[in-house]
């Protein structure tokens, strides 16, 4: 160490600066347009006033009180639909990912692309397409009526089922792809070893495949739950007023009624609840991979 020259020291110091220079523009962006707005949202939620007279910061927590007194049904709907979409998405997405990973030898990348196909059509258009599919005179409704699952005057559009169908469909690729990625990493020899050791296919799945696909399951469920909990488009296009979610309240308070403090309080509460749910979930199923 003592033989080090000044020049080497200088080069060293320059080298240590490089990562910060590389990070600077991006971090500045995140600071200006993510961190500061989030603080702004928190501050706005504690303001009082009206659009005409302007808002002043008073530390008033009234907006938060009303979130839990007035908007409890919307909060419940958000969590219920997000959870439902996540569970159904997992039940549909896992077998799909499994089939692609293990039962499509040559056409793997083609099938993967097919999973992405819905994303090639604009979000609003593919959601609107469900209006046609679930329409009262449509094939699905009449088929369900024939088998007796739906009553004479039963319908799907404007019900919770339509919202759920839209949510599952819109986020299915987010569920399927991460699970596929983790399944694809499993060495076939591991499963052969399990087989050699007299594990039944079910035991091999439970002891080898499932644990190894856990990172994919965690990413997939989060990538479905988070956007679904904040969604308001599916309710608006497929559901009705009885099923409004937190997202709908935020949207209307911000853009239609224009009551910024109330809107900010609801928005902030939604964020806090989602972060809490996510943190508890990730701790329970256990993976640190996600944050690194």
């Amino acid at each position: 160490m003592t033989t080090r020259t000044d020049a080497a020291d200088k080069a060293d110091r320059r080298r240590r600066r490089v990562p910060y220079l590389l990070l600077a523009p991006g971090m500045l962006w995140l600071l200006l347009f993510y961190v500061i707005p989030m603080f702004g949202l928190a501050i706005t939620s504690l303001q009082e006033g009206s659009l005409e007279q302007g808002y002043t910061f008073t530390g008033n927590i009234g907006s938060y009180v009303s979130v839990f007194t007035t908007y409890l049904p919307q909060l419940r709907n958000s969590l219920m639909f997000a959870l439902g979409a996540t569970v159904i998405g997992l039940l549909v997405g896992y077998p799909l990912a499994y089939a692609i990973a293990f039962y499509t030898s040559r056409w793997k990348s083609l099938f993967l692309l097919m999973i992405l196909v819905p994303f090639l059509v604009p979000f609003l258009l593919r959601t609107l397409a469900w209006r046609v599919i679930l329409a009262d005179q449509g094939v699905v409704v009449s088929a369900l009526k024939t088998v007796g699952l739906l009553g004479e005057n039963g319908r799907l559009l404007s019900t919770g089922w339509a919202i759920l169908a839209g949510l599952v469909y819109n986020y299915l690729a987010f569920m399927t792809l991460p699970i596929y990625v983790s399944l694809d990493k499993i060495e076939p020899s591991l499963l052969e070893a399990a087989n050699d050791l007299y594990a039944t296919p079910w035991t091999a799945f439970r002891k080898v495949t499932l644990p190894m696909s856990m990172p994919g399951i965690i990413s997939g469920t989060l990538l479905t739950f988070i956007p679904a909990a904040g969604d308001y488009v599916n309710v608006e296009l497929l559901g009705n007023r009885n099923w409004t979610m937190m997202g709908n309240v935020i949207q209307s308070k911000f853009l239609v009624i224009i009551d910024y403090p109330a809107a900010a309080a609801i928005s902030f509460t939604l964020m806090a609840i989602i972060v809490t749910v996510v943190v508890i979930y990730v701790r329970r199923v256990g993976t640190e991979e996600l944050l690194t």
Binding site: F111, L270, L291
Partner: protein, 261 residues
């Protein structure tokens, strides 16, 4: 064998499920409907394809969407690549914070991010429009760009760079001739992902666009009055362009892979 049949069938059903709404969008661009709402099939026509841009405002909306998607994808990919290089190549203090800061936007629902940005622009009296939407799109694209590029950098052999340095290439030459070509597929994938995310974004745009229209905003406005078939025509065109772009991307990748083997 039975498992094989079972999973093949399942896959078929799954793919059919994913395709049906797409087919509906395409089919209804050819629907010869007479009523006000384009919701039930009434026969085939090409008339909506004759002048898809005749609706007032639609072509500007599409143009806005395209330019915003291009610019936000370009900027977020460049900035994101720099971050990815820093994260994979260097050990430095503040690494965990950086990762957290990148993860948060991906973990925030769009309504929350959109509304937070809205309060910022309201508080600072910035008029909402093209620029604010562009700023917002760069923000939500950034994390995805970093993740995509980083996945590529992690996978490649550092010895190649060391070899270049041993052969007296300076750092810039090494980056330009060795590192950049190697991470190029990741950068390209990040750009395409960012472009698609931006082009399709409705929620964050809705909060920050003011009176400016993008294609999703236009479609949303149209749902109130009944969606005009021209929207389906454009949706079909977008679908076609995306399929072709993906095809080209796959073709290039395939050829590279073959060339390497």
């Amino acid at each position: 064998m039975r498992a094989r049949v079972f999973y093949r069938t399942l896959l078929g059903l799954g793919i059919a499920y994913l395709f049906v709404p797409v087919l509906v969008v395409v089919a209804f661009s050819f629907n010869d409907f007479k009523g006000r709402r384009n919701v039930s099939w009434e026969g085939f026509t090409l008339r909506h394809w004759a002048d898809p841009f005749k609706l007032p405002g639609l072509s500007e909306a599409v143009l806005n969407s395209l330019t915003i998607a291009f610019l936000s994808a370009l900027i977020s990919t460049i900035v994101g690549t720099l971050i990815a290089l820093a994260l994979v190549r260097y050990r430095f203090r503040g690494r965990a914070t950086t990762n957290l800061l990148l993860f948060l936007p991906m973990a925030s629902p769009e309504v929350v991010m959109g509304s937070a940005l809205l309060t910022l622009f309201v508080a600072t009296h910035v008029g909402r429009g093209y620029v604010t939407v562009l700023l917002a799109h760069i923000l939500f694209n950034l994390s995805y760009a970093v993740v995509t590029v980083r996945a590529r950098i992690v996978g490649f052999d550092r010895h190649l760079e060391e070899a270049a340095m041993d052969l007296y290439a300076n750092e810039w030459q090494t980056f330009r001739r060795v590192t950049f070509p190697m991470i190029m597929p990741g950068v390209l994938a990040a750009f395409m992902l960012a472009f698609a995310l931006s082009f399709d974004d409705f929620v964050i745009t809705n909060f920050n666009s003011g009176s400016m229209q993008t294609f999703p905003i236009f479609v949303y406005g149209a749902t109130k009055r009944g969606v005009p078939p021209q929207v389906n025509v454009l949706g079909t065109m977008i679908f076609g362009v995306m399929v072709i772009a993906m095809g080209i991307f796959l073709f290039i990748q395939n050829r590279r892979k073959k060339a390497r083997d």
